[in-house]
């Protein structure tokens, strides 16, 4: 360190920019970083390929569990990506809205037996139709409650801070998130217990393999070499894809969607065009929360044990997924969520379960370094 020469007059970190000595371009050294990434990628591919060849059935099974997780994340990620895209706020409370969705459906099913109302109202109805209508009404109720909750949160906690520094709103979001978790944990609200969730309909397991396809029952277990999946997996995939399409249509084809896109780009100008930006923002929150409510119900059906801190990690992972896919982009949210799901399931399956968060966040950092706006992100605008 003693040989501080004339080319670096001040040995502080800010000196680099001041230094007058001729400097070479570092672009030629890009191969180092690229090589590092390639080596990392090669390692991952090697591990995966070896395991795939080793036991393709297990690999497929793990991929399926990753898909299930990924499609749930995709639903939550939609809310994050829309809200962040329009108000540039990490809505930490979104994961807790998701939790509230689970609880609403729990109370609807367990306390009020809402899922059986078609059978009660129309006794002659076929049981399948009754289950379908009942389940859909439970889901719709959860979506409505979540949307209303999100609008309330937005009006009470975020709207007064619209012009405050973004940091302030972020802290508020954390506060709202804590409030929902711990208020929910009070005995007279949701109670702090881990509650076994009563499903509005039964979930069955199926197997698919060389012998065809069939249902798994205690009498007829899945034959060797077949892959099993459950009916809720199919429902989650279908619902998630449907919602993606619905949202895509909403944003691209409707008037309110146009207003949302306009608000995301430039709020003052949008306001000048006669759009009620506040209402658009509230609407965005509501739509995002409704998807979270749906995700909450499906999540609780798939993993039937609910408690008030249920939403923290899925919420966080979904946000990471939204960032990964490119914030503000709807297909991005889906792709990011699927990557997250696979990363988690494959890490859990082949490296070590505890390290899966590490892998998920590493993927996030690497993707952002290579593509700062995420996979589907639009080129960066100058942010406020």
């Amino acid at each position: 360190m003693q040989q501080a020469s004339a080319e670096q007059p001040i040995a502080v970190l800010s000196a680099d920019a001041l230094s007058v000595a001729p400097r070479q371009s570092g672009a030629g050294l890009a191969w180092i970083g690229r090589g590092f990434l390639l080596a990392l990628a090669a390692l991952v591919v090697f591990i995966l390929a070896r395991n795939l060849l080793d036991n393709p059935r297990l690999f497929a099974q793990i991929v399926i569990s990753g898909l299930q997780l990924g499609f749930v994340y995709a639903l939550i990620a939609l809310g994050y990506t829309m809200v962040y895209g329009i108000v540039r706020l990490i809505n930490f409370a979104h994961g807790d809205v998701f939790m509230v969705g689970s609880f609403v459906s729990f109370f609807a099913v367990s306390r009020f037996s809402l899922h059986t109302w078609p059978a009660v109202a129309f006794p002659g109805i076929s049981p399948d139709l009754s289950t379908l209508i009942g389940a859909v009404s439970v889901i719709v109720l959860s979506m409505i409650v979540c949307a209303a909750l999100a609008v309330v949160i937005e009006r009470v906690a975020y709207k007064p801070l619209r012009n405050a520094p973004r940091i302030t709103a972020l802290i508020t979001a954390i506060g709202v998130s804590f409030f929902l978790e711990f208020f929910g944990a009070l005995n007279f609200v949701f109670s702090p217990r881990f509650i076994p969730y009563q499903r509005p309909f039964d979930v069955y397991a199926y197997w698919i393999g060389a012998q065809g396809i069939g249902m798994v029952t205690p009498q007829t277990p899945a034959p060797d070499g077949s892959i099993t999946f459950s009916s809720i997996f199919v429902i989650i995939v279908v619902a998630s894809i449907l919602m993606q399409i619905l949202l895509q249509w909403l944003v691209k084809r409707t008037k309110i969607g146009k207003a949302m896109r306009a608000s995301a780009v430039d709020k003052p100008t949008t306001r000048l065009m006669g759009v009620n930006v506040d209402r658009v923002i509230s609407f965005t929150f509501a739509v995002g929360a409704a998807f979270a409510g749906l995700a909450g119900v499906l999540f609780a059906i798939a993993y039937p044990s609910i408690h008030t801190q249920l939403g923290i990690l899925p919420g966080l992972k979904a946000f990471v997924a939204a960032v990964l896919g490119g914030i503000g982009s709807i297909p991005g949210a889906l792709v990011g969520a699927l990557i997250m799901g696979q990363a988690e399931a494959l890490t859990a399956g082949y490296i070590s379960t505890p390290m899966r968060d590490a892998v998920a966040f590493t993927i996030l950092i690497i993707v952002l370094l290579v593509r700062p706006t995420g996979i589907f992100g639009e080129p960066e605008r100058e942010k406020a």
């Binding site: 800010s14 906690a157 972020l170 005995n187």
Partner: protein
């Protein structure tokens, strides 16, 4: 009687804040001797309060001592976070991870020394941080020759360099330890180095090395991650906290440290933290922080927060200053962790979960972003209010009341954000922490710590 408790708790909060105010005022005094005397008195008052008994009771009992120690470590961690977040504008949720890193690193060194009577961990950490520091500084100089260097390439080089330094440290540290260890003797026949003095020296070294270790890790992590946007940086640092926590849980399976016992928690850490050490390290952190903030580097850090583009246009190395703030902030967190580990004597990953990691953030926000005084006062107030007053208060209200604790504080946070978003103290600074009054032209005040302004940025406030 119960009213006495309540009253006592309230008085204690006021007294501690008054003590803090007095300390900061006296440190701002022009005369060096008054300064030193004031610091000694401030130290002494608390020290006497610990040992002096009125009737059957120490003025500050162990309950208060615990709160005070925790408040001081929280102050260190939160000051570091305020530097990163409040002064430099980088939304970081990783502070708790660095805190844990420092705690485990320092605890491991003294554990090995105290229980296994070996200096291997000490030498490995010592050599490791020194070597890695040299490698990082050297590489920085070397890479300074290039412009437009891709971050990833720089990161790869630093990573390889640090890994090499670590490998050398493990080899050399164990080698030196095998030579030095016989000096300890055995448990039955203690040798030269097993005295209490040696233990205190090891403790000091362990805490400092742990702080530097945390700082170096933060450099490696911050280098690629700080180039992401502010919010993305927040999420990435949150990820860091989670990953560190995972590693703690698996410290005996994935990492090779059976003494840390993974999720079962590390027991047997000697409880070496005394009021002297807590006070000394807190003072050190305050002085470093204040001198950084009120120097040209500090103004550069501030300018980055205010407007990155403008700062860049003024010739400020934006990336470098972000990194510097991050590294110093993490250093404080690491020091705080080392102090904490030797206060509690038991480390478990649960303490460092990412949810608890929001605590320093909330402290910083309550005190006011960009106010050192606010952070200090909020740390003390937070601990004495939440763990002291509220514990006594809720205990009076019946057996259900404690479940309300975590409902009350998000509400307080929300109200604060809506009514007073700049924090309780805004940008007020007390005494020592105020910007030093530099007289326009010579003779500059000789005792002032302010560096003559080689100002490359307009004072941002």
């Amino acid at each position: 009687m119960e009213l006495g408790f309540l009253l006592g708790s309230v008085v204690k909060i006021v007294a501690v804040l008054g003590w803090l105010y007095g300390l900061l005022q006296v440190m701002a005094h022009a005369s060096r001797w008054v300064k030193i005397a004031g610091i000694v008195i401030a130290f002494g008052i608390i020290q006497i309060a610990f040992s002096l008994r009125i009737g059957n009771q120490a003025i500050l009992n162990d309950f208060d001592a615990g709160l005070l120690f925790q408040a001081c470590t929280m102050a260190m961690v939160a000051l570091g976070l305020n530097l990163i977040y409040g002064f430099n504008g980088q939304f970081s949720l990783g502070q708790w991870g660095f805190y844990g890193l420092g705690a485990y690193a320092a605890a491991y060194v003294t554990y090995k020394w105290f229980n296994d009577r070996t200096s291997s961990a000490l030498f490995v950490l010592l050599i490791g941080v020194v070597l890695a520091g040299l490698v990082i500084l050297g590489l920085r100089r070397f890479l300074g020759r290039y412009y437009n260097l891709p971050v990833l390439s720089a990161f790869t080089l630093y990573l390889i360099g640090s890994a090499a330094a670590a490998a050398v440290a493990v080899f050399a540290g164990n080698g030196i330890a095998s030579i030095v260890d016989p000096l300890f003797g055995t448990k039955e026949a203690p040798g030269l180095l097993s005295s209490d003095v040696a233990l205190q020296v090891v403790f000091l070294l362990a805490v400092i090395c742990a702080g530097i270790f945390a700082a170096e890790v933060s450099f490696l992590f911050g280098l690629p991650v700080l180039s992401l946007g502010s919010d993305y940086f927040g999420i990435a640092t949150l990820g860091f906290s989670i990953v560190i926590n995972t590693l703690m849980v698996n410290s005996d399976t994935i990492l090779p440290f059976p003494e840390m016992k993974g999720g079962r928690g590390m027991i047997g850490i000697p409880k070496l933290t005394t009021w002297f050490w807590v006070f000394a390290f807190l003072l050190l952190v305050i002085v470093i922080m204040r001198n950084v903030i009120h120097s040209s580097v500090g103004r550069a850090i501030l300018s980055v927060r205010e407007d990155e583009t403008a700062a860049k246009a003024m010739g400020i190395d934006v990336a470098g200053n972000k990194l510097l703030a991050f590294v110093i902030g993490s250093l404080f967190a690491g020091l705080g962790g080392g102090i904490y580990a030797h206060y509690i004597g038991f480390l478990s990953p649960g303490t460092f979960s990412f949810l608890a990691g929001f605590n320093p953030l909330i402290v910083v926000v309550f005190g006011g972003l960009g106010s050192m005084t606010g952070t200090l006062a909020a740390s003390f107030g937070w601990m004495f209010f939440l763990e002291g007053l509220l514990r006594v208060l809720l205990g009076q209200l019946g057996t259900e009341a404690p479940t309300w604790r975590f409902v009350l504080y998000p509400i307080a946070l929300l109200l604060l954000m809506l009514l007073r978003p700049q924090g309780l103290l805004g940008k007020t600074e007390w005494g020592f922490l105020r910007a030093p009054q530099v007289k326009p032209r010579p003779p500059a005040n000789p005792t002032s710590d302010a560096r003559p302004a080689a100002s490359i940025a307009p004072a941002a406030r």
